[in-house]
């Protein structure tokens, strides 16, 4: 069982992911934009964070960099509709561990999560 932070301005998407991950027994935390994501990360210290890119207030690429400043070991998986090569590269350069393009297959999300959960 892990602490998972979902950062996405779409509550629909967060709820969808939360449903999937709660079934697997994980504790889920929500943030509605990058800034909330950074604040929530500091409060909750999740094992894994799923991060969208296009969000108001602070985008996901920036939020990854901000989180990595305070926790270089943060495990952040991008989960975004914006999958252009440049975006993927920026996310990885900022410290994201993986990039999943929406629409996601539930099994893919679980597989990737499994790769990065603490043993």
């Amino acid at each position: 069982m892990a602490k998972v932070l979902l950062v996405d301005d779409s509550s629909f998407m967060r709820d969808r992911c939360a449903k999937l991950l709660t079934k697997e027994g994980h504790d889920i935390f929500h943030a509605g934009n990058g800034k909330e994501g950074v604040d929530m990360y500091a409060r909750v210290k999740p094992d894994v964070t799923f991060m969208d890119i296009t969000m108001p207030e602070m985008d996901g690429i920036t939020a990854v960099a901000e989180i990595k400043k305070t926790d270089p070991n943060a495990v952040i998986i991008m989960l975004s509709a914006v999958g252009q090569k440049e975006m993927v590269m920026k996310a990885i350069q900022n410290g994201a561990k993986y990039f999943i393009v929406k629409p996601f297959e539930p099994m893919k999300v679980l597989e990737v999560l499994g790769k990065f959960l603490p043993k």
Binding site: S10, D15, A81
Partner: protein, 156 residues
Amino acid sequence: MDANLINGFVRAAIEVLKQELKVEEVQRGDLSLGETEFTSEELNCLIGIVGQLEGQCFYCCSKAVACKIVAVMADEAIEEYNDMVADGLAELANVITGRATIYLESSGFKLDLSPPTLLTGAGIKVGTMSIKTINVPLVTPLGTLMIKVGLREQKK
């Protein structure tokens, strides 16, 4: 607007709708050229595009169709239109447009998207930044989603 640009959106929309609605067939209806404003349907989700191209995409449908689509996406029964349907439609629009930008990237266009904005209410005149749109109905087993894409090369 270059009609070839619409192909990326059509391809993206068909792929995403097939996956999200778990259907084999999504039909593309006849393309039509819109004007620089259109009359809204009950739900109209707008996504702005900036970069080497600028403009907007609109995803339009009735509340009834949106309810059916989002019910499948959420794997839940939905009795009537509510905030979850609105959010689900916005997310669908976001995902389709995101995929379209991946296809446009392979044609050499670097683009950024705005978060979605949902305009609710039929019969409103909606301007499209003086860009004529190309309109494509996408016919699914759950009803029709109309996509209106208006893009131009970025003004220098």
